[in-house]
């Protein structure tokens, strides 16, 4: 074990924000469905009745509009990829869920992780600066490799988000909004 402690001056510096980009949405889709030849974009819009149906099932729909990437090979559909983001205690997490034709979760990949400094996470303006900014490359060099240690971060908001996406894709397929 090799451990070199920071000098006290560094350790006393103000806390800073922390961000990692892992994958772009396109990279995640290809990773989840490597056999796909293309991904078609579909915009699923839930009507009021569908939103109520989700609420009744205990899955708060949160949004009426859900962009879905449909994995295709020739004329056949292989599955679906949905990108979403959730806010935790200090962090904003963008993640992608891959769903197979059986309706089950195939894979979940985190696309980006952004930890705020202070309580900026609650500020829409802080979150907006990252909208649409998923990395083009998952490669990181130099100082970017820092690891955070701390109290175990809960991922229950990601788990809830995955359940919501499974329910939305299921509804959309039943209504014919997705192939």
């Amino acid at each position: 074990m090799r451990l070199v402690l920071a000098t006290s001056a560094i350790a006393l510096a103000p806390a800073s924000a922390f961000a990692v980009d892992y994958l772009s949405a396109e990279q995640a889709a290809k990773l989840m469905f490597p056999e796909a030849e293309r991904f078609e974009s579909h915009d699923v819009s839930l009507d009021a009745a569908q939103m109520q149906k989700l609420d009744a099932a205990g899955v708060r729909a949160r949004s009426a509009r859900w962009p879905v990437r449909v994995a295709q090979r020739g004329a056949s559909t292989l599955g679906y990829v949905v990108v979403d983001e959730v806010v935790g205690k200090f962090e904003l997490i963008t993640y992608a869920v891959g769903i197979g034709l059986d309706g089950a979760v195939k894979q979940v990949e985190v696309l980006s992780y952004r930890e705020s400094h202070g309580h900026e996470i609650r500020l829409p303006a802080w979150r907006r600066q990252f909208v649409g900014k998923t990395a083009a490359s998952p490669l990181h060099i130099g100082d970017d490799i820092a690891n955070i240690s701390g109290a175990t971060l809960s991922c229950s908001h990601v788990t809830d988000g995955v359940k919501r996406i499974v329910a939305v894709v299921d509804l959309a397929r039943r209504s014919g909004a997705l192939p």
């Binding site: 560094i10 985190v110 060099i141 240690s149 175990t152």
Partner: protein, 243 residues
């Protein structure tokens, strides 16, 4: 300069990150996540099919066969319970002597005993993931399960510590070929522990150790005992800090 490939997935109730030196590491990364999912399937009390969830529903006097992962973590937990004078307790106060694991057979002695490996299982899972990466020939990298992490190989990795009250991180150290874990017991923490006086523990502790299982588990011993020089640390070549 080393190029790194990083991936993160929700596992073990937290975010697990795998970082590897180099590119084209998809198969190794998948193997590391598979190792962790395999450990989770044995230990998670939230998975009704796991050994621990099945144990928790057993009546007193009954027993069950457990997987080698479960037996290994329970053996470490038993050892640490005895060595820490009862401070480390995976029954979380429900009945520390209400269970016993004999090789692969887990016995329930008392009704009401419930096991929760949340204080040691993440570290064990990280160690198994690192084993699989090394077995696949990965030269350097890390596995970080929501703050409990292990770095392996020649590279040194900067380590930052989260400010638990307001968020944000501070540089703390650089770590090579070793593990580091942190526990925070505060009024708003998910983790709850009671000390010898039955008062809730309020502490923020980190431990560095060669293996992540011991780093993870020893943070609880240090936080609950309030002793950053606890004699058990030396047994596992560990070092601790109370922040």
């Amino acid at each position: 300069m080393t190029m790194w490939t990083r991936r993160a997935r929700p596992l073990l109730g937290t975010l697990v990150e795998v970082g590897l030196a180099g590119t084209g590491c998809d198969a190794a990364i998948q193997a590391a996540f598979d190792s962790i999912a395999g450990v989770q399937a044995c230990l998670s009390r939230f998975d009704a099919r796991s050994d621990i969830a099945r144990f928790n529903t057993l009546p007193a006097g009954a027993s069950l066969d457990v997987a080698p992962h479960t037996a290994a973590v329970l053996a470490a937990a038993q050892e640490l319970h005895a060595a820490s004078g009862g401070v480390f307790d995976v029954s979380l106060g429900s009945a520390a002597d209400g269970w016993h694991c004999d090789e692969r057979r887990l016995h329930k002695r008392l009704a009401g005993v419930q096991l929760d490996l949340g204080g040691i299982g993440k570290g064990y899972a990280v160690d198994r993931a690192v084993d699989s990466l090394i077995a696949l020939g990965c030269s350097a990298g890390w596995v970080n399960a929501g703050g409990d992490l292990r770095v392996f190989g020649d590279e040194q990795v900067p380590l930052t510590l989260r400010d638990e009250t307001s968020g944000g991180v501070r540089h703390f150290a650089t770590l090579g070929d070793g593990s580091f874990a942190t526990s925070h017991f505060g009024p708003t923490s998910r983790s709850v522990a009671t000390g010898p006086s039955h008062a809730p523990v309020r502490a923020h502790a980190s431990v560095a150790a060669p293996l992540c299982l011991w780093a993870d588990a020893l943070t609880k011993v240090v936080a609950i005992s309030g002793d950053a020089a606890h004699p058990l640390l030396a047994c596992h070549a560990a070092r601790a800090w109370l922040h």
